[in-house]
Symmetry: C2
Subunit: 223 residues, 2 copies
DNA sequence: CGGTTATTTGAGAGTCTTCAAGCTGAGTGG
DNA sequence: CCACTCAGCTTGAAGACTCTCAAATAACCG
């Protein structure tokens, strides 16, 4: 059962610190959108339709190189936003977006949202810290891709994705591999190696149980 | 001759769209800072002293992996800002910052700047688009590092750095190499290959002349 | 000019990718 | 209920690109 638009906003980092009154004004322009698994949400260089907040499901935001290679910039899960920068900056979408499973999003249409930013003196101040957090995450992503090897990247990903020592993969393995800048083959092999070492166990339905979070932590730090 | 603090702010992307009155209030809290070549500006995990705008010189913002490997996140040249996200988000500096040459910066001290953000209703709105631009650049950087090979990354860098077909390297080659996620050896070899192909020419004093910008463009796009 | 640091160049090794083939598993229709 | 099919996943072998280590050369600074 999907949550109310306002609840979805309240749960996401970007809007968490926004005051109640302010949040009401944002919720007033929100619309709900549903996408089937594999459905395209917008394409690179399109005008961004607005700011999306994921309620249920998952969205992959990805670029395609001239060589044909894909890179998944962001696997947006419930509570995450995407297309924020394009909407606020007013530039076209820098990447493609596609639902990886059946997905519901809250959409804040670009024009209405920008109007709200201009009309409401409080909102920009609150969002600024939200954007700073997003920059922070991007920097962490750069750092991860650049400073760690395949094993370290995978270990870190599993640790971040896990709840109670179980990580549920929000998309196909090849998409997650791409997000970590790996091929699906390398992803698969690296996963097998972690199983052999007794650090994780595969379970049915895209689930992975973490058997030794401490050991994974060492790998994630590059030891 | 260094520019006035206000002029420096006006020239940088973050503050370009800020209204004159607003800019005056920002300039009022600005202080000037000088650093010698190689001098540390702040360290990772320090509290960020404030928002820096480079006036003259260049600053390398970098992370160090547990393995000892460095990655230069950002080579900030005149007109660029750094530590924005840390200041706005209120978290500690996510990276080290060091002047690569004698450098002058304009510093907006963190506490005063945050106070200004709260007091001035206009400022956050203007900065929000500035932050969106910064996110955009980070995404481009991720894309570049991940989707292109050494030759492509170098070609793109040279094209972006060039003015009138001459690129002046703002730092040691090893720092630029690190920014492109290359070792200095690979950087050197790749540069030599471009010289052999007749695309560029080395000139004295960290200068590189672009002989065939079109050809470099093809390489940058991964052809 | 001498000492130091940065860059270039060479040889070899590693990690990851590519290409190719078999496997698995969920959904479909007989 | 069971093939069948198709996409995704796994596994193997070969190769490419970049890195590491080592040494020579070049640039810089006092």
């Amino acid at each position: 059962m999907p949550a109310s638009n306002r609840d979805v906003l309240m749960r996401c980092r970007l809007f968490r610190r926004v005051t109640a009154a302010c949040l009401d004004r944002v919720a007033a322009i929100a619309v709900s959108r549903r996408y089937g698994a594999g459905e395209r949400i917008f394409a690179q260089d399109d005008e961004a339709p607005g700011l999306f907040v994921v309620d249920e499901g998952a969205v992959r935001v990805f670029k395609i190189a001239p060589s044909g290679k894909e890179h998944v910039l962001h696997l947006a899960e419930p509570g995450h936003t995407f297309a924020e920068a394009a909407v606020m900056g007013g530039f076209p979408a820098p990447a493609h977006a596609e639902a990886t499973v059946d997905t519901r999003c809250v959409l804040l249409p670009a024009a209405a949202f920008r109007a709200l930013l201009d009309a409401d003196p409080e909102l920009p101040r609150q969002l600024l810290t939200g954007m700073a957090v997003w920059v922070h995450q991007l920097v962490a992503h750069v750092e991860d891709v650049v400073l760690h090897d395949a094993t370290g990247r995978l270990a870190r990903y599993l640790l971040e994705a896990a709840q109670d020592d179980v990580a549920v993969l929000p998309a196909r393995k090849r998409d997650i591999a791409s997000h970590l800048n790996l091929t699906s083959e390398t992803f698969s092999r690296t996963l097998s190696r972690l199983v052999d070492r007794g650090l994780i166990r595969r379970e049915p339905g895209r689930r992975i149980r973490l058997l030794d979070a401490g050991g994974l932590g060492f790998l994630a730090r590059g030891v």
